[in-house]
Amino acid sequence: MASPEELIRSYIAQNILFSNDGYPYADDASFLGENIIDSMNILELVMFVEETFGIAVLDQEVVPANFDSVSKLAAFVRRKLVVAA
């Protein structure tokens, strides 16, 4: 099973960056600070993690601390999976 990091990188590369070279940034690169994604893509990411990992994301959880890099999003997903287990 692919790790959350791999799934997130792959989703962004294919659906947001339309990149032929995978996800070309570091896992801790800021999505918004480095213009990797824009505000509209945030909602796309919320839906992606809900559907892919079977978790429910609350409005108050849609904050940069959870959604602003591959590492932060993967850590958020792991925390949610632990709570849901």
Partner: protein, 331 residues
């Protein structure tokens, strides 16, 4: 940077600015565009009222037409205030109810289809609006839209908008601005006039407009002015108080969302000062001191400004031309 940074930085020399804009309007309309007058879409809001008054001053009221474009979801106040400002400026008005055109294009039906997928009870008599999370001053949530509907008996229900429904509601609602644009051009071409736009800097630079809708104009006389500066011009021109004191609304959604809750997320007196400081390279701590905010609050507002500029950049682009051997696009 000067220690005196603050709201005073937004203060215009209003008389000089009004003189400059009216001179520019005359040049643009008569000399550059070779049109004989101006058509302005008027909503009773501060921006269109200021532009109407500037056009009347620049071109003479007899060469300006104010067009009111209400539809089913418009507030009645919009038309009455629009008539008030037109009378104040001595300008002729035309009222075009665009509801039938919107009905024909399927605006309401397409929008309501998306709403019903989220709220099956939604129907006639209900109201709907889209909002962003609460004020940026109190929390650092990202810009995820919420749909709020209100039943005829006043019960309110909210849900985060999934992408499919968000896109459909916005795409359908944008018929309103685009039909308005076509009606303004009808009235402009009928008279050999230009269409004069009403966007201010906040709306244009942060992307609070519809491409080829309200942005479809010939001249943009106040697009360089912060919203707070538009108020200064309104005061200088002596516009009626009812117009100067009206909270800015979207006048697009039946639920009547304000521009602050739909898009900007902070009051204009704060947003504009922070933005001015950001543009001038003033440190966040200094901006914070001027506004009695924390540096973290200022940083949040600046981050939101930068994100909106980035996210909406495509709205401000001209059509892209692909004529190089490599296929590389250019704007």
């Amino acid at each position: 940077m000067s220690a005196s940074f603050g709201i005073k930085g937004l203060e215009l020399d209003v008389s000089e600015e009004v003189e400059r804009i009216t001179r520019g309007l005359r040049l643009a309309v008569h000399q550059t565009l070779h049109r004989q007058g101006a058509v302005v879409g008027i909503s009773g809001g501060i921006d269109s009222s200021v532009v109407l008054a500037l056009c009347a001053r620049a071109l003479g009221p007899e060469r300006v037409v104010g067009v009111m474009l209400p539809e089913r979801d418009s507030s009645a106040e919009s038309v009455s205030l629009a008539r008030e400002i037109a009378a104040y400026c001595g300008v002729q008005t035309v009222c075009e109810d665009i509801s039938a055109a919107l009905e024909g294009a399927g605006c309401y039906r397409r929008r309501d289809e998306a709403i019903v997928r989220l709220f099956p009870d939604y129907g006639p008599g209900w109201q709907a609006k889209i909002t962003l999370p609460g004020s940026l001053l109190s929390q650092e949530t990202l810009n995820v839209f919420t749909l709020t509907v209100t039943s005829p008996d006043g019960r309110e229900f909210s849900r985060r908008l999934p992408l499919r429904e968000y896109y459909q509601i916005v795409a359908a609602s944008n018929f309103k601005q685009r039909i308005r644009m076509t009606m303004l051009y009808y009235h402009a071409e009928l008279r050999n006039y230009a269409v004069v736009g009403t966007a201010n800097k906040d709306e244009h630079d942060l992307g609070f407009f519809v491409k080829h809708g309200d942005a479809g104009v010939d001249v943009n006389p106040i697009v360089h002015l912060y919203k707070m500066q538009v108020y200064q011009v309104a005061q200088y021109l002596g516009l009626p108080e009812a117009i100067r004191n009206r909270p800015p609304t979207t006048d697009t959604y039946s639920g009547g969302s304000t521009q602050e809750e739909f898009f900007f997320r902070v009051p204009f007196p704060i947003l504009d000062v922070v933005w001015l400081g950001y543009e001038q390279g003033v440190p966040a701590t200094e901006i914070a001191n001027a506004l009695a905010l924390s540096p973290e609050q200022v940083e949040r507002i600046i981050a939101d400004i930068a994100r909106k500029q980035h996210t909406t950049a495509y709205l401000r682009m001209h059509p892209i031309v692909i004529d190089s051997p490599s296929g590389q696009a250019r704007t």
